[in-house]
């Protein structure tokens, strides 16, 4: 990783809180993360770890009374300080999202052509009818769909095809950053692989940065450059994908990677005992302290370890690496 390159996304101490009867839900609690141009980052975590909230916060789609605090730089501009109208223009044109369950996010009574053009027209792109048709064809071609799809309705398409339409919409204005929230979670392995290969090819050709959100470590290993591991509300570890798999540092990452099925070790199951903690009024310590095999009595439960860069490009939040420089 080249540290001299200016990050395209620079998140500093991001906090997203929801307020419910039982207390404060600290869904994202102090996340710091930077993404360089052209890098594919995988954000992994279990359900309830705050990964989808992170994605929504990046798009600034968390509504009051929920609060977003911190700084969120997109190409040097803090988007948390933009007006609502300015932010609306940033979405899709600079920061686009493939939502979770994208297959159900298409409008069932609109032709694919019109859904692809909808966002562009709304963002002030002026096109003649023939230019628009040409643009739709070009986008469908990029995501490897036949031209005839333009005239179809979503119910006429398979899951994989609908997913590709969502990808086409997301890249229609050549954004700088693509956020993909579990883009293939409902697809079969063969289709999943085809869609994922299309997405990674696009990211490379258009030189985008991508944040791929998911819980499938297998998919991450196949398609991203860097991995950020989340555990309720906090980042536990960030590093290059090969380093994370070869030498996980945080005990949670270690347990997670140890629990994965790999070829050659049949019938060996290493689950992580216990359950993830609640994010309602969390304690002051590390969220993993009650499940951690390397817990330091009296310290981990009292104090959240700082999230530090312990070597270039490798960040970890764990008291075990406190002294490491």
């Amino acid at each position: 990783m080249n540290t001299n390159v200016k990050p395209v996304i620079d998140i500093r101490n991001l906090k997203v809180y929801f307020y419910v009867k039982a207390g404060t839900v600290k869904a994202v609690d102090g996340v710091t993360l930077a993404i360089e141009p052209g890098v594919k980052l995988g954000l992994v975590g279990e359900s309830g770890s705050g990964k989808t909230t992170m994605a929504l916060a990046l798009m600034r789609m968390v509504r009051p009374p929920a609060t977003i605090e911190g700084e969120l730089f997109l190409d040097g501009v803090d988007i948390l300080k933009l007006s609502e109208e300015e932010m609306r223009r940033v979405r899709l044109s600079e920061l686009a999202m493939i939502p979770q369950g994208a297959m159900n996010s298409l409008n069932p009574v609109m032709r694919i052509r019109d859904q692809i053009l909808d966002g562009m027209i709304d963002h002030g792109v002026r096109m003649s009818r023939s230019e628009a048709n040409q643009k739709v064809e070009e986008l469908l071609d990029i995501v490897e769909l036949p031209k005839k799809v333009a005239r179809m309705y979503p119910h006429e398409l398979s899951g994989g095809m609908k997913q590709r339409v969502c990808v086409a919409i997301a890249i229609s204005m050549r954004p700088k950053v693509l956020i993909a929230d579990e883009p293939t979670s409902a697809l079969d392995v063969v289709i999943q692989r085809q869609v994922m290969e299309t997405i990674t090819r696009l990211v490379k050709n258009l030189n985008l940065s991508m944040i791929l959100i998911g819980h499938d470590m297998g998919l991450m290993a196949q398609s991203v450059d860097r991995i950020a591991v989340m555990y309720p509300g906090k980042l536990m570890e960030v590093g290059d994908v090969r380093d994370i798999f070869a030498e996980p540092l945080h005990p949670y990452t270690q347990a997670l990677i140890n629990s994965l099925p790999v070829l050659g070790k049949r019938g060996v199951f290493n689950g992580i005992p216990g359950v993830p903690p609640s994010v309602i009024n969390p304690g002051p310590g590390c969220p993993f302290n009650d499940r951690c095999p390397k817990v330091i009595e009296g310290l981990c439960i009292q104090k959240m370890p700082p999230f530090r860069e312990i070597k270039p490009g490798r960040w970890v939040a764990c008291h075990l690496y406190e002294g490491v420089n």
């Binding site: 499938d216 470590m217 099925p261 790999v262 019938g267 199951f269 992580i272």
Partner: protein, 337 residues
């Protein structure tokens, strides 16, 4: 040989009678047997539309086969059975379903799910006995009864709920357990634990398990044998280690090469697929339109099951010079002498 469940040339079509152009063939001339003397875990793998859920619904008698027979202990489950036999069948063939949210009634405490089978099958005479049964079943799946009983489903996590569903099946001490994607909606860190419980149950209580999934990584991990289905027909079957490591059928090869192994040094292999998909295959092999090796014969005739070695068969003409295994004898593949 004493198969607990046997499917003989079972066909299931939806939307019309067999042979009608409108009908969808969900399962086509499928034969299979599970032997209780050899309590293996057998994976039924396939993508959506392959017929794997149809097969489960048929075994559980939720669907009636369009043709063929399903036998429980040698008796056709769709012929008249005495009440005693029906109860016996209902008790001994148990299932754990995919969605750990949908199997619970949100208005009842989770105890309900456990106590109903105890009541229905009169497994306990007193309340204390009922309680003891529920507690021991919960402990077996690694739950603490005092933290589980008396709660409502929404107070428990998906992993806990799924474990209670396994505990429910355990209480009945079934002779066959069918697990339909039991871990697909459970988090990664709990997945391994749940699979471990299923494996333990299989080995300690000697219950044969049908593990139905599209996830070949967990299938490889948990099961002994695997049957790969595609559009209602068997493509390949055999010892899981062999099938995953050395798949013979071009479809299985495509599937195995598409597995996202959680290892950056083991990337996706070559995806060999012909781009003729969509061409109707009426008479021949179901996979012919996508197969990179398809030749004339594949479009004309359905391949038999050919042995590729002692414990593996593939329905593919590439192996037509090998010995045949009759379709109805597929179950014999899963018996280790």
């Amino acid at each position: 040989m004493a198969p607990i469940i046997e499917m003989r040339n079972v066909t299931k079509v939806f939307g019309g009678p067999i042979g009608s152009p409108k009908a969808t063939v969900a399962l086509d001339d499928f034969s299979f047997a599970v032997d209780s003397d050899f309590p293996h875990i057998i994976t039924i793998a396939g993508e959506s539309g392959s017929g794997k859920t149809t097969m489960m619904m048929l075994i559980l008698a939720f669907y009636e086969p369009s043709a063929g027979q399903i036998l429980y202990n040698g008796k056709d489950i769709w012929k008249k059975m005495s009440r005693q036999e029906t109860m016996d069948y209902r008790r001994n063939v148990q299932a754990v379903f995919q969605d750990p949210f949908a199997v619970y009634n949100p208005f009842y405490k989770v105890d309900n799910l456990l106590s109903i089978p105890i009541k229905n099958f009169r497994l306990a005479r007193t309340k204390d006995e009922t309680q003891a049964l529920m507690e021991s079943a919960l402990r077996r799946v690694g739950l603490r009864p005092e933290e589980t009983l008396g709660r409502y489903p929404h107070q428990l996590s998906g992993g806990q709920r799924q474990r209670i569903a396994v505990a429910r099946a355990l209480i009945l001490q079934p002779k066959l357990l069918i697990a339909d994607e039991p871990v697909s909606m459970v988090d990664a860190s709990l997945r391994a634990t749940l699979l471990q419980h299923i494996r333990d149950m299989n080995q300690e209580l000697r219950i044969p398990i049908l593990y139905i999934t599209h996830d070949l990584t967990t299938a490889y991990h948990v099961s002994d044998y695997i049957v790969v289905l595609y559009r209602g027909g068997v493509m390949e079957a055999g010892d899981v280690e062999r099938v995953i490591r050395d798949p013979k059928h071009p479809y299985t090869q495509l599937l195995v090469n598409s597995i996202p192994w959680p290892d950056p040094n083991h990337l996706w292999g070559e995806a060999a697929e012909a781009k003729r998909a969509g061409t109707a295959v009426l008479a021949g092999c179901r996979f012919a339109d996508r197969c990179p090796h398809a030749f004339d014969l594949c479009w004309k005739e359905k391949p038999e099951l050919y042995r590729t070695n002692g414990s593996q068969v593939a329905a593919c003409f590439l192996y037509q010079s090998n010995d045949k295994l009759e379709r109805k004898d597929l179950g014999t593949l899963f018996i280790k002498k």
